[in-house]
């Protein structure tokens, strides 16, 4: 908000105006909000680039997915776990080298122009493959997209690419943007990256930096009768204590992504008019992972790593740090990915005696002060839970004689220290499992990743057997065979412990009772909310 629109010229005038607060100049502003149709949501960040085709991250999707749509969205009940959006059907060829999408007819962009297969070609070849953080992996082998007509797009791959992977990745990597807006411009700097133009149920209307984003109803949305809401407002509330208070004071109606801290949940759920929902994040599972720097002699020994795994009381972590809103992990694939999950992997029960024995066996005896050796521990600062786990891990390790020194850094410094400079022994990270291990999970343990790639294997771990399994699965078209390979993947990771999976968690939404159809798909918070209703 500004009292007056300031440019350098009007600076002096504004100064005078400030002095007389009753003489605040007015400026043309939106009409009064329409009754019953306006959903106010807490937002904790203001992404600099709002284009989900380039930045496939949850922070961007939270706002942008209402405006820009993918080819298909995740669904609890749909075929293949998907619900068609801009694509109505998808078929893979037998050799795995092409995927045919039938596109939806009668869809218009927010500026009135028609949506055609040309937009899909442009998005895929000019944005998803070269520019998007996740698309570079998924579409690495994409050669071309053929468009025999306006409603068909055939993706051609140079190597066999599993349809299973493409399907699982669709909700995240396939946001389509208009060719006629981006063509010929510098895509990364195009103003449409902030003032989004899409096909979604809501149009991007206004952004007041530091305050809010305002989206309004798209009257020409292809799904007649939707959206049900007139407006969605994302109110910027970076302070987490603020979200809970604002909900209770009825200033906002929805707080997603655990904007209300876990510790407040039991109290706030008892407040009349408010409900706490843990469903709706199944496809966005975050994993609490201990990243290990295998360049340290001690950590290169698998016995030491196993000892560390035994020293952790996962139940305590789940109960105390996550207050029960999490599950203990057994491996790199979470339990709520039933397509791939394998429970028959080596596990490490909480056993301090065993941990001590393993460390003794490995040859690291306790010194006179009870310490065996010292490690540098870097918890990621992005979540309260990762920081708290850092505190806990320090305790747990000191119980087995390992002295862990905590290093507090802000996000940028942490990122550089761990993923570029490798200045860590143990780090705590929150990678995301996005429905398919090949999207963002195998990269955590694969060897040969260049420096500087965040949430990847920067610990110097190299296991040829594991690399081979990963490489093979990447080109296996047959679904059953592919799934088996990933089960093998889980067993290998759990046995050799390139990293230690501790817990997996989804987020919590807190909403007022009059918001209906909340959390009705596995990625609800980052889906398009076209059927969300505000009961008056």
């Amino acid at each position: 908000m500004t009292i007056a629109h300031l440019s350098r010229r009007t600076l002096l005038q504004a100064g005078a105006a400030l002095a007389a607060s009753t003489a605040l100049p007015t400026f043309a502003h939106a009409q009064a909000a329409t009754a019953g149709g306006r959903l106010i949501v807490a937002a904790d960040s203001e992404p600099k680039n709002l284009n989900p085709a380039i930045v496939a991250s949850n922070g961007v999707f939270f706002i942008a997915s209402k405006v820009v749509e993918p080819l298909a969205e995740a669904s609890f009940s749909g075929k293949d776990g998907l619900s068609p959006r801009l694509a109505t059907s998808w078929e893979g060829s037998a050799d795995g080298k092409s995927v045919t999408f039938k596109l939806r007819e009668g869809v218009k962009w927010h500026d009135g122009k028609p949506f055609t297969s040309a937009d899909v070609v442009f998005s895929a070849l000019k944005i998803w493959k070269p520019l998007q953080n996740l698309g570079r992996l998924v579409f690495a082998n994409l050669e071309d997209v053929e468009t025999p007509d306006d409603t068909t797009a055939i993706f051609k791959f140079s190597k066999p690419t599993p349809l299973q992977l493409i399907r699982n990745a669709l909700p995240v990597v396939s946001s389509v943007v208009p060719k006629h807006v981006y063509e010929g411009s510098d895509i990364s700097a195009n103003p449409a990256n902030v003032k989004l133009i899409g096909t979604g149920p809501f149009k991007f209307t206004e952004y007041k930096p530091g305050e809010y984003y305002r989206l309004t109803k798209n009257a020409d949305y292809w799904n007649k009768g939707e959206p049900k809401l007139d407006e969605v407002i994302f109110r910027v509330l970076p302070d987490r204590a603020g979200a809970g208070a604002a909900l209770e004071a009825e200033e906002i109606q929805l707080a997603a992504f655990s904007a209300v801290p876990l510790t407040d949940l039991s109290r706030i759920s008892k407040v009349p008019g408010i409900k706490v929902i843990s469903k709706g994040y199944e496809a966005l599972t975050y994993q609490l992972v201990i990243e290990i720097n295998h360049r340290r002699k001690e950590l290169a020994d698998v016995k030491v790593r196993q000892a560390i795994a035994h020293a952790i009381d996962k139940k305590f972590v789940v109960d105390t740090i996550f207050l029960g809103y999490a599950a203990a992990s057994t491996g790199p694939v979470p339990k709520n990915a039933p397509e791939f999950y394998d429970a028959t992997v080596p596990t490490y029960a909480f056993d301090v005696a065993k941990a001590n024995a393993l460390l003794d066996e490995a040859g690291y005896k306790k010194g006179a002060d009870g310490k065996r050796f010292s490690l540098k521990l870097r918890p990621a600062p992005y979540f309260n839970e990762t920081k708290q786990f850092g505190d806990y891990l320090r305790q747990a390790l000191s119980a087995v004689g390992i002295d862990a020194q905590l290093v507090n850094a802000d996000a940028a410094a942490h990122q550089k220290a761990v993923y570029t400079d490798h200045d860590f022994d143990l780090a705590i990270g929150p990678p995301v499992f996005r429905g398919d291990p090949a999207i963002s999970t195998t990269i955590l343990v694969q060897s040969g990743i260049p420096d500087g790639v965040p949430f990847s294997n920067q610990g110097g771990y190299a296991n040829k057997e594991l690399d081979d399994v990963i490489a093979k699965a990447a080109v296996t078209v047959d679904t059953t065979a592919r799934t088996d390979l990933y089960k093998q993947f889980q067993k290998l990771v759990a046995a050799d412990l390139p990293l230690i999976n501790v817990a997996e968690w989804g987020f919590i939404s807190v909403a007022r009772d009059n918001v209906l159809n909340v959390s009705n798909n596995p990625r609800w918070a980052v889906s398009n909310w076209s059927d969300t209703v505000l009961k008056s």
């Binding site: 987490r240 204590a241 809970g244 801290p261 510790t263 407040d264 039991s266 109290r267 105390t320 740090i321 600062p381 309260n384 708290q388 850092g390 505190d391 806990y392 320090r394 305790q395 000191s398 020194q405 905590l406 290093v407 507090n408 850094a409 802000d410 410094a413």
Partner: protein, 276 residues
């Protein structure tokens, strides 16, 4: 030690001295009063205060003992506060002395630097410094000192300017005393009192700045500080307010103690100056 007795004579000085002595004792004997690492998980999480005799002030989210945290936090707060103030005063004295004695271009240049540090908001500077370098106790001390040295420097210089014209300095020069000796033996001891009076304020401000930095998450995570306790407690302020209230009270008492001590000291010094 007559001034100490005089100090205890004034009401402010007495209370201030009392509080500070108590805090100093706590800081020294914390490991005995509450043995073990205060950051270790000692009991059930979120025990209420005054409920369990082994955890008189309750426990926090991870099950850490609040009383242990407060007792050990005394060490950090006092250590950081005093160290930062000492650093700031030391730097200020050196620069002020140099500027006042050297005069001319050196004086001008140094004063410009002092100006620069005075117009930049000290909290912003500390914030930037700790964020950039990384949070640990020495870094926090330096960050706070960087924001605080300008005032002592200016004050020292003013004192030096007025003292160096005095008779006893002139006579020292006449008998051929080395300039450095004059600086340290004649001028400095007389320039000191007003600067010392300022020091208590600097300590109080340093303690509060350290708390604010810890609150924003920029404190050293390996030691327990009152600011980080308040930040931890902030998440559960509604259900367990005591977690933030107790360290807050500790902060308030400490700062009051320092301030009262300085008031008392000021009174004594003012009295002394009028005697001199």
């Amino acid at each position: 030690m007559r001034w100490l007795r005089n100090l205890a004579g004034t009401p402010e000085g007495a209370i201030g001295l009392g509080i500070l002595l108590l805090l100093a004792l706590i800081a020294l004997f914390a490991p005995i009063l509450s043995p073990g690492d205060p950051l270790r998980i000692a009991g059930q999480p979120l025990l209420a205060p005054f409920a369990d005799p082994s955890f008189p002030l309750g426990t926090d989210r991870l099950g850490r003992d609040v009383l242990a945290g407060i007792l050990h936090g005394t060490r950090t707060s006092l250590a950081v506060g005093i160290a930062a103030a000492l650093a700031a005063i030391a730097i200020g004295l050196c620069i002020g002395l140099t500027a006042g004695l050297a005069g001319g271009l050196v004086d001008e240049a140094l004063m410009r630097v002092v100006d620069a540090f005075q117009i930049v908001p000290s909290f912003l500077l500390a914030l930037a410094f700790v964020s950039v370098i990384g949070a640990s106790v020495p870094v926090v001390v330096v960050a706070i000192a960087l924001g605080a040295w300008a005032d002592p420097a200016r004050l020292t210089r003013a004192q030096v300017l007025s003292i160096r014209e005095r008779d006893y300095v002139a006579s020292a020069r006449v008998i051929g005393m080395h300039p450095a000796e004059i600086a340290f033996r004649q001028i400095l001891p007389n320039a000191l009192p007003p600067v010392l009076a300022l020091s208590a304020i600097i300590v109080a401000a340093a303690i509060l700045t350290e708390a604010a930095l810890s609150f924003l998450g920029l404190g050293d995570p390996n030691v327990v500080t009152w600011g980080s306790m308040i930040a931890e407690g902030r998440n559960i302020l509604r259900s367990s307010p005591s977690l933030s209230i107790f360290p807050g009270i500790a902060l308030v008492i400490t700062v009051i103690g320092v301030y009262l001590f300085s008031e008392g000291l000021n009174k004594v010094l003012a009295g002394r100056r009028s005697d001199a």
